[in-house]
Amino acid sequence: MKRTVAIVGGGPAGLAAATELRRMGVERVVVFERERDPGGIPRHCAHQGFGIRDLRSLLSGPSYARRRAQLAAAAGAEIRTRTTVTGWGTDGELELTSPTGRAEFTADAILLATGCRERPRSARLIPGTRPAGVMTTGTLQQLVHLRGVAVGSRAVVVGAEHVSFSALATLSHAGVRTVCMTTEQAHHQSFELFRMGARLRYGLRLRTQSRLTAIHGGTRVEAVELTDLATGDAELVGCDTVVLTADWIPDHELAALGGIDLDRATRGPAVDGALRTSRTGVFAAGNLLRGAETADVAALEGRHAARRIVRHLAGGGWPQRRLAINVQAPLAWITPNIAADDPTIPPRGVHLVRAATFVPDRELLVTQGDRNIWRGPVSRLQPGRSGTLPAASLAGIDPSGTAVEIRVSSPSGP
């Protein structure tokens, strides 16, 4: 196929898409990656646990990152590192900055796979002084695994998701003792195995229903104030390091600069099952869609997007109608979150659903106007980990109808 596809972001999603596009015969596939090495976030996740569903192997983050980059290169994709896509030209071309200069790049289709980041302290509006020693997991892991510098001696880890346990392992590797892990939720949001392992290995103390309400310290963190959400009691906990984990936000700047509609709930581009955005020819995949899933999920989305891109280049159209699928509290978001008039089965045949709190009753109700579309259970409803909703559940949506709402169906409800 004599076509050019540009991929922004050389993480698992972008690299997996590049590999698949080349395998499917797209002549020119160029991946733009702003870092010095491709691979995305896994480059600095030194622990095991990557590649299970996509590569059917268990790898460390760095090996997985290298493997993904090798596969893409071997398939014939061009990977341009140290190249940042900074914006869009008037005719949809990508604007680039790299040491070789300022340039524009025109493609027949574009995949945005720019990933996500953890919200920093400022975005979380945590009051107090501004001492050194407050960082996200991303920063922590780069300091420890890419630079090998010392970070502190006693840490408080904020958050209790998968990534929080990853932070714990990094801290331990760096010789930092974790004083406690704290979450506002009633329960941690990761595997029970991780929590038990952490308790046995590091003597981890997990505080639930606890909020970080202030940071104290002069040049270096000296203590944090943790407030018990049930009682309102505040306690000072001494530490010199605070790791702010999870609380993801998609890196949606480029999408937003391109005028692409963002979903209010995910903050990522609103996409349909084919991962098509509101802008013709532009697709999105990976953590950009909604924050962090595991790398294999992101990679499989990249592969799915590649197949839909090939279909699009072969003359498949762009939806005329895009209807938003909304969620109601305590649901947090769903992705894909657009019903298109030419429906496509989403990646892995499922929509991902998150809740803002643990919802014991996992029954959902999908309505459109006064029509009940579907009612049934979802595999999981909690913060920090997604449940899956089979594509068939939403198949009854009429894309030209009124707004779609998904809510937790109360046992006594309609």
């Binding site: 940042t84 900074t86 900055t97 790299s98 975005a123 002084t129 996200t136 300091l143 890419l146």
Partner: protein, 461 residues
């Protein structure tokens, strides 16, 4: 600083005021020393303000502040573009949200006229919303002050200090003056590393100007820090306001303002709460809640955007309403203290005032010829940034290697900041000189690389 060091003029405090004074004096044949307690120039109140270049339309007529803000505006608005300090004349809209506030407009206009500022004009509600369509509902009217502007608070003191240093002023950092003694016709200042003798002493110690004034033998004013908390919204919210949105002042506060920044963000604040501790630059839950509530009223759409930064500045408020600006000829001492909420705007005029005062008091000032100001690297979003400058990248590829992705700061700029006349010495210094790590991710992506560059390139100096 082991032996005693002699100089003609010793300026204490390298905030925007001290730097401006040091620069002004360094144009002359003088041995000038600028000492700063902190690790960097412009790292106290001068880095944490609302960064407006005020016209002085609302100052108290007849006050020294009114005169110097007006003169400072003239000087700085002309100087800034010459040396690369980003400034934009975006104009301010003073918005009334009630009929009661509307009734104050005539008095505000009258005050502006009394201050010699006549371009102020009243706008209809329709015209207000035409100019600011995202303003919250319920505005009753507005006054347009077309000349109010926004300026880079980081580059301004740095530019002054860079000129001073390149014109021969000696800059001592991490050098707090802890004692003062008048010995015959000169001063002896006690510093951690030794003593310094100077014929003239200038107090530009900001929040501690009262303490230094007492060390110099006076008892004239007391600084009560007035905390101001601010929230900076993501650059993606940049289009939400195009003017500075001011509130109608009340007896206790100037109110919360919303303004674009030269970096392309939107800023909201400050609060105004008197506190005791001059080092307490911590933010508070109550303060942030208040700013968020005001934001929801003034520009509600901002709530949909991420917060990029929260910061706190302490105004050097005193029991007097005006600047504490005096020259004591007999004792070779000048005080430029209590410069509460307009010091950035007035800085060059304060420096001019001090220079004139010293000349009047007998200091011989002989202008040096052929002095060139230092060109500052541009941090303003509306001006050409290196990452967009193809020619510059072609000449030096380091300007094409973006290191801080959110703020698009290149390797070349970081390198330059570490080699500048007043170089960055730590990550905070680098932030103020390049914007590195100042963006929405606050270092999630680039902290490790930036700190590595500080070590590598910094060590080579």
């Amino acid at each position: 600083m082991s032996a005693e060091l002699d100089c003609d003029v010793l300026v204490v405090g390298a905030g925007v005021v001290g730097c401006a004074i040091a620069r002004e004096l360094s144009r002359h044949r003088l041995r000038c020393t600028l000492v700063e307690a902190r690790a960097d120039v412009g790292s106290a109140t001068s880095k944490a303000n609302t960064a407006l270049l005020h016209t002085g339309f609302d100052a108290k007529p007849g006050s020294l502040e009114a005169r110097l803000v007006r003169r400072g505006y003239e000087l700085l608005s002309e100087h800034a573009p010459r040396v690369g300090i980003p400034w934009e004349r975006v104009g301010a809209l003073l918005v009334a949200w009630s009929d009661e506030q509307l009734t104050q407009f005539p008095a505000i206009i009258e005050r502006a006229h009394a201050n010699g500022y006549t371009a102020i004009q009243e706008l209809s509600v329709g015209e207000l919303y035409r100019r600011e369509p995202r303003l919250g509902i319920g505005a009753r009217g507005a006054l347009l002050v077309p000349d109010e502007g926004i300026i880079c608070p980081f580059t301004t003191p740095l530019a002054f200090a860079s000129d001073a240093v390149s014109w021969g002023c000696r800059l001592l950092l991490d050098a707090p003056v802890t004692g003062l003694e008048r010995a015959g016709d000169h001063w002896v200042a006690q510093l951690p590393g030794g003593r310094l003798r100077a014929s003239w002493l200038i107090n530009a110690a900001g929040l501690r100007s009262d303490e230094l004034d007492r060390l110099a033998g006076h008892d004239r004013f007391t600084v009560t820090p007035r905390r101001g908390e601010l929230i900076v919204y993501d650059k993606l919210a940049g289009g939400h306001v195009s003017h500075i949105i001011l509130a109608v002042p009340t007896s206790t506060s100037k109110g919360v303002l919303v303004a674009p920044t030269v970096f392309g963000n939107v800023m909201v604040g400050p609060t105004a709460v008197d506190i005791e501790d001059k080092d307490d630059t911590g933010s508070t839950h109550e303060g942030l809640e208040y700013v968020l509530a005001e934001t929801a009223k003034i520009v509600p759409g901002l709530a949909d955007y991420e917060v990029t930064a929260v910061y706190v500045g302490l105004r050097a408020a005193t029991e007097h309403s005006d600047y504490q600006l005096t020259v004591d000829a007999a004792n070779g001492y000048a005080c430029a203290g209590g410069i509460r909420s307009t010091g950035l705007s007035a800085s060059l005029a304060i420096a001019e005032y001090v220079r004139e005062g010293l000349a009047g008091a007998g200091l011989t000032l002989e202008q040096r010829q052929g002095l060139q100001p230092v060109s500052m690297p541009n941090l303003g979003e509306r001006f050409c940034r290196p990452y967009t400058d193809g020619e510059r990248i072609a000449a030096d590829p380091a300007y094409g290697e973006i290191v801080c992705f959110c703020e698009r700061v290149t390797l070349g700029e970081i390198r330059d900041a570490l080699r500048a006349p007043v170089p960055a010495r730590d990550a905070d210094g680098l932030r103020r000189r390049t914007r590195a790590q100042m963006g929405r991710c606050q270092g999630f992506y680039c902290n490790a690389r930036v700190t590595a560059l500080l070590d590598e390139l910094g060590a080579k100096l």
